[in-house]
Amino acid sequence: MATEERRKEILETLKNAVIQYDEDAAKEFSQMALDEGMDANDAIFNGLVSGMEEVGRLFEAQEYFVPELLMCADALYVGLDILKPHVKQLDLGIRGSVVIGTVEGDVHDIGKNIVKMMFDVAGFQVYDLGKDVPLDKFVEEHMKTHSDLVCLSAMMTTTMVGMKKVIDDLKAKNPDVKIMIGGAPVSQDIAEKWGADGYSPDATNALKDAINMISSLKKMKEEAEAKKGS
């Protein structure tokens, strides 16, 4: 077992490897964490993910932009690939499933992929439809998978209008589904106007919102069942 001091050193190095998009260090120290008997969850959440949180802060502060974010995500994945097989239960206390994709006409999936990664790391079941997804496909996939959540992304002012149709169709089929939208031209007031349950300006907020939405969904289900039982 690694000493507390050594544990902290490894966690700090993993964190910095992600922040400084150093794939070699992420690889080396993820392996070292395992070799020295550290808990994989500890290395992931207090090392790699903690680094990604700092990256999120740098992004919000406009010190980092998308290319930096993509590099950091690569370093994170290198570490995850090594650590994930050794994780007993990767869980933030809530498990959910999500259908995610970029709407038809839009081939910009950088933002969507970053959100997807956050869901992955948090242990969500993610059904990624990719980019340029025909609008009906979102409804179809949601009905097939019974996902808790559907996340729609658009990066263009010219394609975002497709989201409204998907929201209407989804709510018509399943009023309980939670829908989150995101992307450069999207805003909170558009989410409200078009009937989405949430809007997220970035990936960190998307994850927080998703956890809240799924918590409220589960609570609703429990209450409904409790009623049935009584």
Partner: protein
Amino acid sequence: MTPRETVMKALEGGKSDRVPVSLFGGGMWSIKDSGTTFKDLSLNAGKMTDMLVSLSGKLLCDIVYAGSGYNNFHAAALGGGIKFREIGAPDLESHIVATEEDILKLDLSKIDTEAVINTVKNALRETKARIGKEYLVTMTAWGPYTLGARFVGEETMMKATFKKPEFVLKVVDFATNLLIHLYEPVVSDGTLELLSIADPTASGDLISKKQFEKFALPYLKKLTDWAKSKNVHTLVHICGNTTDRLDLFPRTGASCISLDHKTDIAKAKEVLHGKMCFAGNVDPVHIMLQGSVKDVEDASRRVIQTAGTDGGFILMPGCDIPPTVPYENIQKFIQVAREWKL
């Protein structure tokens, strides 16, 4: 003054008799409004011309854009293929450049024989012949960084700016040469007075100021230098919040920089006025799409009041507009500027 003269005056930094005004591109809106499709027009220069001419009469937009929505054909012509779709502009099917060797294999002369590109050029010439005295007729293309990223794939290219920066510079340089090759015939025969370039992948929301300066700016400069040598103006649109890099825009050499609604237009006036023409920046979604006619009027007035009363300015939406923007909103947007005497 004709609408054309009004814009030309602004491009030269001067004051026209009223505020110049235009959409940026507007291809998707126009095609939807005309009840046609991108595919339908793609090989029919006559029909494309008719659409541009009749919409020009309907919108009274000072600039008329041939080819808006067809920009991906410039990369597709060299391989990669095109996918038409029901919603949205035609897209590139695949990314064909992964290495420096791949760049060397690309044949620029294919641009000259690509059927859709030639349809756009013919429509441009015919439109110019019909309404070119009255309106400023231009042809659209992606900017060098965006076009380069179309060849490589946006995500791959962004990572390559760290992993293989020399490769990225070569790709963007190649894209610049492609643009010059594309525009050369319609510049040489006197058709074009203005190149219209959109560089959305070089957005202020996507890449840092430092990366913009290294990977986008020198190639915009190369393109505008060429245009200047031919006595042709350049209009460049950069998406996203670019307030932090306004000081770099005069170095692009563009005649006019079109700014996103997120950019601080008061700051833009402060930094750019007297150095270059600038355009913007009414919110294309919040105001143009979702706002009332009154909202459009108020927002347009606000922008003009802040940035447009001293010349060297064109009123534009902050980006291309969604196809579902109400016609009445565009009408009001144009009207506010047309009636604003300088």
